[in-house]
Amino acid sequence: MNREEAIKVEDLTVAYGEKPVLWDVDLTVPSGVLMAIIGPNGAGKTTLIKAVLNLVNTAAGRVLIYGEPYSKQRRIVGYVPQRGSVDWDFPTSVKDVVMMGRYGALGWIRRPGKKEADMALAALEKVGMSRFAERQISQLSGGQQQRVFLARALVQDAQVYLMDEPFQGVDATTERAIVTLLQELRAAGKTVVVVHHDLQTVPEYFDWTALLNVRLIASGPVSEVFTEENLRLTYGGRVSFLRHGERNGAPEDEKRTGERGF
């Protein structure tokens, strides 16, 4: 696995007040993978992403993106926050929100112009939302809101994308559309890291995964680390709803699936 390292997390520890959320996490994300971060609630998945983005204070450790700290690399990082983190009644249009992805590149004071608007429309086209460009954001369904956030990350034109639960509360159509988009990004050589909840779809959607529960339990190719044992370590033996083998994964996976008789 001698690929370039897109994200390298070293000895990362984060604590909110007295409660540690991440303990001494070491994680390497190779360039060009589509990775799921999975783990139970309160495992620190969102915190990990926020730590990479320098949004939370770390107690120890550091994060490098292509060998440099985030502050030097923000132009090549795109971010999709949780949908619920903003007020969707804010008076602004879909196109406006998408253009916000260009604000960093524009720098201080300069306003977005025709170029930015065109980029926004192109990104909306990609997520199937171009009809909604002028619509007010409060009139969108949950899935549509999620697509708008994706479009905003797309116009950032990044190398590395960090997404916090992009499948949360979206309809099946949107979920398929998002997956297709993520796989396109990977095909274009981008690195995509996604906080994910639905264990069933991990082998189908992703090729790389990290299992997290305050500590890093395992990370690597899905076919190697998405094992029952690792999941039990992560979720504490509460995993009984797995459905492996939907994707032509590693042979031992299929064998084990057969044994369990799912």
């Binding site: 903003v86 007020d87 008076p91 602004t92 249009s93 916000m100 604000y103």
Partner: protein, 392 residues
Amino acid sequence: MKRGPEKGASDVDFPQIFSDLFLDYTLRTVALGSAVIGIVSGALGSYAVLRKQSLLGDAMSHAALPGIALAFLLTGSKMPLVLIIGAALAGWIATLLIISIVNSTRVKYDTALGMVLSVFFGFGLVLLTIIQKRPDATQAGLDKFLFGQAAALLERDVVTMGILGASAILITMLLWKEFKLLSFDPDFASTLGFPVRVLDVLLTTLIVIAIVLGLQTVGVVLMSAMIVAPAASARQWTDNLGVMIVLSSLFGALAGISGAVLSASVTRLPTGPTIVVCVSAIVIFSMLLAPRRGILWRFFRERRQRGRLRLEGILEDLYSLALEHKDPEHAHSLSVLRLMSAGKGGVERSLEILSERGLVRAVSPGEWALTRAGIEEAERAQGERGGGQDER
């Protein structure tokens, strides 16, 4: 409370007001000053309301009182600029205190807000009573800051207010996209490399300036309304931040001018409260009548929708009956239709409306049938229901 053009009658004499507005020095100054306040607090209040800091305006205007008193005690000056700086500093300390109390203890935001508001104001009162014992102080000071005294505005004050207000608005225009992003999604702003804390401090400072500018005219107690009300009204009319801010400023100016003029032309009508009543009238008007969001608008839309659904339902009932009989124009009795609409009532009335539109016809009394146009309409309605799900 004395006002400039004292008039005996309480009747409002409109032509007189308009000529006064241009000719009378006091009224012109007061109206101009109130307009400036309305514009500035309308513009910056929009950010306060969108950032869910509506009540911070209330807290900061109360907290400004000790700042004003201390500025006067320390400098002995009554220059508006000196008092404004004092007020802004006190407002800032109050905000910092609120933030540090909320961040480091389990005391909640509303408690911290209410406490800082009342304690600062109480301390301001203590300082004011001390000031009043000084030989160079006048009794009028307290009045002025509690309820505002527009008539005491001088042209000089209005110029100061205008310059400060214009600078504040200019900064929001320069940092337009930064403030917009900060208000909508601060985390995202931070990942893009904008110094969120600095922007936050700057925007809050501008809001403090807007509040302090209005204190002399509207007063401590009521200034919070000038921050919240124009913005809350403007929000009802538009979904665009820029339009909202412009509208909010216009509403603020409108309330300021009409309040100032009314209080000048009617005896014993204090300026601050009159402005607040005017701005509240705009709020009520907007909430009731604004297209799309307004209460009346929503009420009528829902009624229209219910009516349309009922008509469509009857068309469909007739259509499905007709399908069963293999004769699209077969007539059916009213009682069957009543049964099918599950006792919702109004079937006859709906049938009459439909027949006026030429979609159904009465074959004989109590017997109704679809017309050719009605069949087409029913088919179209069904097709529509099957298709467009994604649209809302």
